[in-house]
């Protein structure tokens, strides 16, 4: 009797082990699938949120471009055969018009928090390891010390306009042709290419 009980318990135990072995990949994969689905759903939501943020950012940049175009049209047009005096006069007058028009502009009105997070993530994924170190070195060594981190202030014309790596530019939200991304130390600025005004900036863009 005792021997019979022992035999059946061995049988049940063995069966349990076998079932566990057979089912464990299923249970693991089911768990992984669920986790992945949750992650995908979260990822999808994040992607959708970023997509909305990018669209909204591009719209805000477009709105700025439209307004500064309207203002520029009130000035005598610069020809492609201008003298340095004409270029300088146009830039100065244009800058003053836009400054007045955006007198109440504040940091973060174009670079809001969501788009800033997206841009940081884009830079992090584009530059890793040695490339990231090289980018940081280039940016930190550039002659941009003294560029004011202030909206509606001019980017000093004596300062370097650091190249934005093209592979990054292709991944960042596209700006209207009148606006440029610029690195100043670890920060990223939006600068008007003609009047030189700092339209907005975000801190710690570089990882």
């Amino acid at each position: 009797m005792k021997q019979r009980t022992k035999k059946s318990s061995v049988f049940v135990g063995g069966l349990t082990v076998m079932l566990c072995i057979a089912l464990s990949p299923l249970s693991i994969s089911a768990g992984t699938l669920l986790a992945r689905r949750r992650q995908d759903a979260r990822g999808g939501a994040v992607a959708a949120r970023y997509a909305r943020a990018v669209r909204a950012f591009e719209e805000r940049a477009e709105a700025y471009a439209k307004e500064r175009e309207r203002l520029e049209e009130t000035l005598p047009k610069l020809s492609k055969e201008s003298t340095p005096e004409q270029i300088h006069a146009h830039k100065t007058a244009f800058r003053e018009l836009v400054r007045k028009s955006r007198a109440g502009a504040r940091q973060g009105q174009i670079f809001d928090r969501v788009i800033a997070a997206h841009i940081r993530a884009t830079i992090r994924s584009e530059f890793k390891g040695r490339e990231r170190a090289k980018l940081r070195e280039t940016v930190m060594e550039a002659d941009t010390k003294g560029v004011p981190l202030r909206v509606n202030y001019p980017y000093p014309e004596t300062k370097e306009l650091l190249e934005i790596p093209p592979t990054l530019l292709l991944k960042l939200p596209q700006l209207p042709k009148q606006l440029r991304y610029r690195f100043v130390e670890r920060n990223m600025l939006l600068v008007d290419r003609e009047n030189g005004l700092i339209v907005d900036y975000m801190r710690n863009a570089l990882p």
Binding site: K80, S82, T83, P84, I87, E157, E160, P166, T167, L169
Partner: protein
């Protein structure tokens, strides 16, 4: 051995595919027609360029905009060389204005320095560097036609001036569109940041190379000129394209070329320099001149595009 043979075969295929064959020498060419030698500061000027009838003659010089005594001295050498090599125009490789762009800066760093060339109706075609504002595109004497990137043609050469400071989707699309319909024999691109460089300070701009080189290869760009590095360098041909750096027109970064670089064919970082170039039919001749008027490099590139295309037919 077999691997070497395969590699050689691939290289030849790449070159033939790109339509080029290279015949570059580091010395004066025996074919040089003109050996003019007027005295310049006591030293004779030696020309290795052939001065063929109807050829396209120009200068490449970069990183000029300092207004320094040295920039002026180099400009004076350019002027003297024009007596023996009447070049028609100059390509500026960017950093045309260091440290400010007031009307006085334009005078001091450009107009006064090159006054005699400007008086002689020599045209300057500029590209933008990292010290240049976009508004330079409106400056009459830079002939940029109001654009940050533009194309112009001289004889059998199409020149593309690109803005490497800001190579965005818009510009890349424009470049691809222009090149795709361009059947000019020679397609030459020039912009500030060099995709290949042996400079210790900057080095190759690999991110720029990643986006522009496939376009150059696809549409048969023959030669690329850049600046940014304050020295002269002729790179070993890369995938059949000839890359040059001429960025010592106003500043010099002496000793900056990495002597161990596998990229260099010839480099000069001991003094400031500029390039004289002549395109005659399928040949591009070049001669590099230092501030003392000496030739520091010269050679010829042969473009076999026309032959390859007719052979393919």
């Amino acid at each position: 051995m077999r691997r070497n043979l395969v590699a050689s075969f691939v290289s030849v295929v790449v070159l033939v595919f790109n339509g080029f064959l290279i015949e570059v020498s580091g010395q004066s060419l025996p074919a040089a027609a003109a050996q003019a030698s007027p005295q310049a500061n006591g030293s004779p000027l030696k020309l290795t360029l052939p001065l063929k009838n109807g050829s396209v003659r120009f200068v490449v010089i970069g990183d000029t905009g300092t207004g320094s005594k040295q920039q002026q001295e180099l400009a004076d050498v350019m002027l003297r060389y024009r007596e023996v090599f009447p070049f028609e125009f100059v390509l500026l490789m960017g950093d045309n204005m260091y440290g400010g762009e007031t009307p006085a800066d334009f005078k001091k760093k450009f107009e006064i320095v090159y006054q005699k060339l400007l008086d002689d109706k020599v045209k300057f075609y500029a590209t933008l560097g990292n010290h240049d504002e976009s508004n330079q595109r409106f400056y009459d004497l830079f002939n940029m036609n109001g654009e940050e990137y533009y194309r112009f043609k001289k004889g059998n050469v199409a020149f593309y001036s690109l803005n490497s400071n800001y190579m965005d989707k818009r510009q890349l699309n424009w470049l691809e569109e222009q090149l795709s319909k361009d059947d000019t024999q020679w397609k030459i691109c020039f912009f500030h940041h060099p995709p290949y460089s042996s400079g210790k300070k900057h080095g190759s701009d690999t991110k720029l190379r990643e986006v522009v080189e496939p376009v150059f290869l696809k549409y048969g760009v023959s030669a690329v000129f850049g600046g940014h590095e304050h020295f002269y360098e002729r790179l070993k041909p890369q995938k059949g394209i000839h890359y040059f750096i001429s960025g010592a027109g106003g500043k010099l970064r002496s000793g900056d070329v990495n002597k161990q670089s596998p990229l260099t064919e010839k480099a000069f970082d001991a003094d400031m320099s500029f390039m004289l170039l002549e395109v005659a039919d399928d040949r591009l001749h070049f001669q590099v001149i230092s501030r003392t008027g000496e030739t520091v490099d010269s050679g010829v590139i042969v473009n076999q595009r026309k032959k390859s295309m007719s052979a393919a037919k």
